[in-house]
Symmetry: C2
Amino acid sequence: MKIGVVGLGSMGYGIAASLLRSGHEVFGADVNADALGRLRAEGGAKEELAAAAPQLDALVVVVLNAAQAEDVLFGKHGLAGRLPAGAVVMVCVTVAPDFARSAAQRCGENDLHFLDAPISGGSMKAAQGKLSIMASGTPEAFARARPALDAMAETVFELGDTAGAGSAMKAVNQMLAGVHIAAMAEAITFGMTQGIDPETFLKVILRCAGTSWMLENRAPHVVSGDFTPHSAIDIWPKDLGIVLDAARAAKFAAPVTAAALQQFIAASGMGLGREDDAALVKVYARNAGLTLPGTGN
Amino acid sequence: MKIGVVGLGSMGYGIAASLLRSGHEVFGADVNADALGRLRAEGGAKEELAAAAPQLDALVVVVLNAAQAEDVLFGKHGLAGRLPAGAVVMVCVTVAPDFARSAAQRCGENDLHFLDAPISGGSMKAAQGKLSIMASGTPEAFARARPALDAMAETVFELGDTAGAGSAMKAVNQMLAGVHIAAMAEAITFGMTQGIDPETFLKVILRCAGTSWMLENRAPHVVSGDFTPHSAIDIWPKDLGIVLDAARAAKFAAPVTAAALQQFIAASGMGLGREDDAALVKVYARNAGLTLPGTGN
């Protein structure tokens, strides 16, 4: 297939590379010319995506947020108006379910299929073509997207025939993941106030009922004092913001998520927005006057 | 060894049975005469624990809270004054680290060894002698307690030579476990407002980064609508209260734990205190007007 990939960040680049490996013709686009040059050097099409749009079978959107996806599809780039009838648009961005529904409707008005297809798994899984995709859309949209899904994903959760369900499931997952990171940060620093060093915390909790996927993944960053960003703090004000906007619209009170969000906002306010999200511990450490391993603060 | 076990609830009974299986002579005590009768029928000593106290090698305290442990050791039962010099007292109750330190000191004044030994794993693991024990105390206390620990536990975390460290680690574990239950309850019901039924939630989240030990253990109770108590709601106002008291004393702000505690208090206020802690979903469901699987509310 001829597939366009808009957004060649750590996730989008891995998706584009996986599509190339599976034999598709891949047209990349990114504001970062280096990423696009690298993709072309690895076999990506030389033609500009915008120029090739009328020939594409599928467009995969992997930008940062709904505002960028809006620009790509309907705003200043307006690709939804340039794709051929019958092409499939896959939006892999974490967006509000309402945005996914609205984008699907507007794509339908352009005779395009739409797959609400947020992704999970991190940049390494993206590069390996082993993402998890929480997808919803019409059977036709799934059928058109299938070759791309096969190249990108290890697991595709098929969550129904209407856009919005995929994004809703992603929101639920982010809600849990964000709260679990905050709980890890709160507990590992609370433990320090009680004389439990982070290394002992990790050794014991990994074998106890207090563990979580996020704790197992992120607490080692705290123990080693390495906050090189795998997933950045600033993801969370955005993603938990999506969760709490949707919750408020549904008149659903989510006090635990709301408390976690405030901690991520505080971290961002401390200038930690581009550090690894495990750096949330620095909010707690600063408040309580604790010295974290390897950081001197 | 001659071992006394005070408190024959679901955890204490399992501990007593495991000690019996390992060949120890076990003297039980409980306000519930049925539990004591059952233990004696299974081979427990017929003599009253209080009368046998001067012959005991070890005393295992598995009551509900610090107030009961205080009564057992120093208050109306005053067993610390009746045990022989050199015996070891193991307090397996979830208590504040300060209480553990104070109890250790007072036991020391009675020439007793003290092991701060909170337990984790649930009643089934207790019955199988496969608990996790987060223990701290002097090498002498560990040595005296070893035969009992071997009978009770699959894993003994040795957390240092002073009482308080074991209870601190238990508090940290409970902090995480309690927040994770609240996060599960908040997310599964938020998902319902977004069209995701609990069964789909469970199927997808178990394979995603949003999962946790507690979610895997408790979310199935929500899916099946079965709130038979394995661990009750009312555990959490107590245990998260211990956490937040210790945090406040250390001037440590724990906003996520504080939010979770409020939800457990609300559940208890709704009359759910003796239901399984997964029944926390009912607080969210009532607030948002959701109908949970199998409950009609």
